[in-house]
Symmetry: D3
């Protein structure tokens, strides 16, 4: 079976997850004027919110026996535990410990999701799977990618 | 010009607008247990949020001279003033006077947008334009329509 | 709370569900030539498949206390039990008892989903909720709606 | 076969077609100032363009033998001949005879497509198929529907 | 003409194609328990199916005379012959010779499409066009890329 | 604040903009037959048009104080001035000086947008922000990327 895999083949597998969250962009180290200047309407005191859509990409050599890079059920479980449970239906400024002392911009969110998933993949998956990219769509028009650079 | 309009033609014109907002589903008249039972994770104390997408549909007879149902620039201005300014980058429970004493569910949001736009269309547009439907997509999977019934 | 609902308000709530299934369009009452003529490549002996996307719309008066038409958790449970479990990751011609003696076209699928959900809504939901529309997207280009007519 | 169709079932089948065209909104009966006031940037002398997306919906009773409302291959052929050939990769103001003495707004386009398809369906399809709706998306934000009213 | 191309410019051109197919994930070398453990509901005996969406990306220097990387009509013909004809409205396990002794996972599908198109591009296109990426979306949530590594 | 940024983090920020334009693919240096052979229906004398969708990606190190790569309001202003004003509601062959002596293919459009934005970013943004990619979707099926290679 799967002779096409006699030669090692490196693929990139992307799984999309969504969460719905509130956030407020505000830096207590800045003056009110600076906050207004920098964050504009994103600094609204009670926050606003988004349907965040994350594309999580992992890479590695396809397993010759299964034809899979990795068990998607495992990846889904990790994303459920590490992303959905942590961020979904939350106010990012108050409810997520990893974001406490940050301005929860999409840039910082992408970096933190990367750090969380790098740890989680090492812990749960005993194979040569590498996190390749975390891409977060905040709206249909804005997105941020982090590749660990 | 536009002889195809000698016969009156009734069309439905839909304009899509988006706003990003936080909300919390919570009814102070309910006990904590009732709130938890009814609203689940949507009752999170600090709220969560969405990219709301609204499809606003108006109907009427196409104007024979212009070939338009209505001046889209006017409709865009009304939606900017009445929808975007009111709801975008807001926490619906705190920042929107029309939603103060409500549970800001998508159902109630659709009804309130209908009431606001019915007034606004009568005020700004001196033609036989009727609001036909307000459809709000809260997520890619959930939407609510209100047609004034 | 929710004074905007003093007047009864009828809304339409749509929930989208997806399932991935194989099917083959073939009528044993037809000759081979007729089958080829009518079903073309959709009659391929081992079947082909689709990511079916269903928009299920129910309607009724918004509940004044909760601000909801119905408990979305309940609707999700019904759709899980009655749609996903029955159709997802199945070959419609072999694995779904309701489709046994049919040509599993999108038209017939829409009608059968309507019949299943009409029963299920009566059974599970003790309120005045009416099934309004079952719309099935077979591909990005083809869809079928059934409204019980 | 298809006993579920013993009772007549009326369905709505939608087929999506796309065409890429240029147009200019300009009425020679208006003064330059009026044209500028009414059509704004849409009146640019050489025109601009869109990827038009049309949802064509026909309705009728599902055929008990085939399980289809109509032969989709036939509908595709009609849409190819009557819509794609006529409008795709054209400048609507110059290249489409039916639009010659019109302002090719989306409203007028929807009406003209309706008139063309009503004729074509009567001519090609010898069954009780009714054109139900022509919906044209001009951009992701603007669309117009015509239902023959 | 096209002086902007005096300097060689390397671009990446992506063409999207879709096919609708059935597949079953099952490895005869595994025990029933292993198959159940590894492939879960994807191992359903008669298969299930998907609307597969492929993004095929080729790269090279833009031709200074035509302004194109390559003749898109040629690329469309190759994709029609090599992808659509081979995979559309097929059961991947039975009807596609290249997939016979494989588990037709999206990973393996991406690798095989890469191998097929690498050959086809060399055969049909006498220019310096390189296949850059094959990306297959199996569902809205899962995709796999192969870049020949 | 933002201790997660103590280590420099390089991100890629993508902003999507759209414009609606007409174009005609035609090279006066070619014979009529060559033009017909090469550009087919894209050579229609009066042109045709598209809803162009551009994904503009810039990269750099996230600012530790603001949590942003750059001020999105600034990027939006640049894109408004340099892209929307130049291309939206225009006929690319007649109305855009940068495209005058070109065949306005998507390939050339991507290259020219790259050149324009490279200049503009240097001029307006006094930070280490690099243009990473210009990706233009001409239709849902065709897109071109240019990365400055």
């Amino acid at each position: 079976m799967n002779d096409v895999l006699k030669k090692p083949r490196k693929v990139y597998v992307t799984r999309t997850v969504e969460f719905n969250a509130a956030h407020r962009l505000h830096n207590p180290d800045f003056s009110d004027d600076q906050n207004r200047e920098i964050y504009g309407k994103c600094g609204n005191a009670h926050g606003h919110g988004h349907n965040y859509e994350l594309e999580i990409t992992v890479s590695g050599i396809v397993d010759r026996a299964t034809g899979f890079l990795l068990d998607m059920k495992e990846l889904k479980k990790i994303l459920e535990q590490e992303i959905t449970t942590r961020f979904d239906h939350k106010h990012l400024n108050f409810d997520v410990k990893e974001l406490r002392d940050t301005v929860p911009s999409t840039e910082i969110l992408a970096v933190i999701v990367w750090d969380i998933l790098t740890d989680a993949l090492q812990h749960y998956i005993n194979k040569e799977i590498t996190l390749h990219e975390v891409k977060i769509h905040e709206t249909r028009k804005n997105s941020v990618s982090y590749l660990g650079e």
